[in-house]
Symmetry: C2
Subunit: 121 residues, 2 copies
Amino acid sequence: MIVIDYKDSRPIYEQIVEKFQKLIVKGVFEADSQMPSVRSLAMELSINPNTIQKAYAELERRGFIYTIKGRGNFVSSGKEYLKYKIGEIQIKFDKLCEEAESVGVKREKIAAYILGKEMSL
Amino acid sequence: MIVIDYKDSRPIYEQIVEKFQKLIVKGVFEADSQMPSVRSLAMELSINPNTIQKAYAELERRGFIYTIKGRGNFVSSGKEYLKYKIGEIQIKFDKLCEEAESVGVKREKIAAYILGKEMSL
DNA sequence: TTAAGTGTGTTAGTTGAAATAGTACACTTA
DNA sequence: TAAGTGTACTATTTCAACTAACACACTTAA
């Protein structure tokens, strides 16, 4: 199911995150179904359990899975990740708006630019 | 004028960039006045000329100074850096808007959020 | 209670990209 | 031509990210 590409320069845990993320977004897994345990997947891929752990922690941070200590990792209900992602985007807009204001660009101007009513900031 | 802080974890060239940037923004240097040469400043700070070169290249990229080969580096006219910075911010807004649209957030909604007419995206 | 499963935390080793240095080259001016 | 300037190439160093080893803690079922 999951294959590591050692020609790929990206870290292993990142490859794992991406692959599960795609599968979950596609709806391949049922909500609340159990993920492979960190040990079994590590064994299958011949890598250290900590690397799977790191991937799972990131998937949890992004809202794709949730963890119950001693029981395992489980797939989140489908829309959790969208909520997470929009939250992240909102934070980025907040920071960027502050940055723009610090160089004299007003919010009205930003809004107009985004709506295509102004060609530049 | 410029002092390196070796307790500071940031790289030397970055410290130099920041210090000159602040001085130039403050208007301490006249426009078109000459910067210290890479060699003289390197000598003064007891570091390699390439490190100064790297700092100056970054300052040029940001629009704070300009270079004439064989002659030296010179301070840009005051407003160059603002133009640069606003350009950078514009690019970031473009990317962020695309990202938002990819998860179903419309531009109208973004504009409304930025203007404070909506509490969240 | 115990055994076998699960995740977690701490520490140590590895490795690759970024930072810095050494050196040689090219342009500008007097 | 000499003494100043910036620049390019390569080598070395350093440090943070990644991965691994191992011990600990929780959950469940027999």
